[in-house]
Amino acid sequence: MEDERFDCIVVGAGVAGLAAAMVLARNNMKFLLIEKGEFAGAKNVSGGVLWGNDLARLVPEYWKEEEGGWERFINHRRLTFMDEQSTFSIDFKSAHFNQTPYTGVVVLRSKFDRWLADKVQEAIDASDFAMESFIAPNIKVDEVLMEHDKAVGIRTGEEKFYADSVIIAEGVNNLLTRQVGLQDDYVPADHVLTGIKEVIRYDQKVLEDRFQLNGLSGMSNEFVGYATDGVEGGGFLYTNRDTISIGLVLGLKDLRKKRKSPHDILNHFKAHPVIADTIRDGEVIEYSAHVVSSGDKRLMPRELYKDGILICGEAANLLMNAGKAIQGMDYAMRSGILAAETIVKAKEKGDYTSRTMKEYRTALDNSYVIKDMNGFQDAVHMLHSPQMYKDVPNLICDFGRKFFSIRNEPTRKSRELMSESIKKHSSYWDLVKLGIKGARSL
């Protein structure tokens, strides 16, 4: 039925799909947002910090809301190198980051996505299609319907829904992107990681005192070295209101090669003496895991559009992780916004073919998302090199131990100590090579 036809069907109410839906609603489009979970966010896992300021574009002045969907804003950042006994951190805290708009907020997806979906519903209610646009949870899309290689709708079980366009925002395990032929049916383990995490609860006052949090301020901490037990990847610890999120992202190919289990490595990380001190006395209230992209461009689908189709968020493997932060949610948000803007234009023009869809690709290429992915590929590769997740953390901690030991003996010059640590864990030549790579990549 033509009058049942939507301008757009968005698959997936994660960050990308919700951002797209918000823009569609604001532009008076008739759309359907389909989510397989019981509610938006029910199936989603992140660390996670939502970096940057795009959230304020979707929900202006979101920080004014007392019971907003976010946990804490970040004003304290820490990057920690670990060996077996020690940690050596670069620690930065600044009152600059206390000002709104915040530069990053910690979120728990089951709460955040649901809150954002409520905001989308408000935008739908205020639109011309208040009664004809829907957020539909509990429905799994089985297939994108194609006619003459153009998307015309979706199928779920026996039911079909028709639309002029489909935005695929299904996340990293992108079955529909594969079905429409933009990604291979089998994606090898080479450029994906398994993310694994626990949420640990504390008395809120204990948490705030332990991490020096004030009001709703929060801390983000990334880890390299011992945390991952010799497997490529890294660790994270973020503060929520009265919980912390602690976990790891582990290169899947390397896990397979080294025959290790992600859940064992998480316990190895938690048992480290410094981490054990940091997290003591908490109660684990959730254990979760999810695959996450590495940020390597080789993982990306062949193209991000097709007649009547746009792919956004991690379905398109848009992600950056060069060690200092994981950026998947902000990339999802921006790409969702750009995808929806393209659909709005397509409706104005009455042309949903690749000619218009391609404008999404151009907009994405010109945005920080693809610019950073292009610019920091070397940094992504470097993070996954054994020097970075093994040698460097070991030698930094070795140096730290000597530098900070005071022994009532003549004190040795740091240069001498450093060269000793380097010889023990690496070689000058390797470090020079790494230094050159690092200087180029950052």
């Binding site: 019981e38 709460k111 994606v187 959730e286």
Partner: protein, 100 residues
């Protein structure tokens, strides 16, 4: 702080349709491949819910009940034994995260 083992961890997960006796499995594994040609049996150690196990005779078994839909096995198995899909909201299993 006490470290949790895997069953304790999975005990914290909210699964859908937990009371249902019959569920439709969303992942199907051709264990014939696991037990004949697979050189590494990677899924038996990389699955974060331990859905793939090896018995005393070295045979691989798969159960979908504990699956937390992470996707790991879909990439880790390079032998073509895993047919992976999302669970059906009505008659499948799968997770509902309380925090995520």
């Amino acid at each position: 702080m006490k470290l949790l083992n895997l069953p304790e961890r999975l005990g914290l997960v909210s699964y859908r349709n937990q009371a249902r006796s019959e569920i439709k499995p969303h992942i199907v594994v051709d264990t014939e491949i696991c037990n004949t040609t697979c050189p590494h049996k990677a899924t038996t150690y990389v699955c974060p819910a331990n859905c793939y196990t090896i018995d005393d005779h070295g045979k691989v078994h798969f159960q979908v009940e504990d699956c937390i839909e992470c996707g790991t096995c879909m990439y880790a198995c390079d032998q073509g034994a895993v047919s992976w899909n999302y669970p059906d909201p009505e008659i499948g299993r799968g997770v509902t995260w309380n925090f995520g």
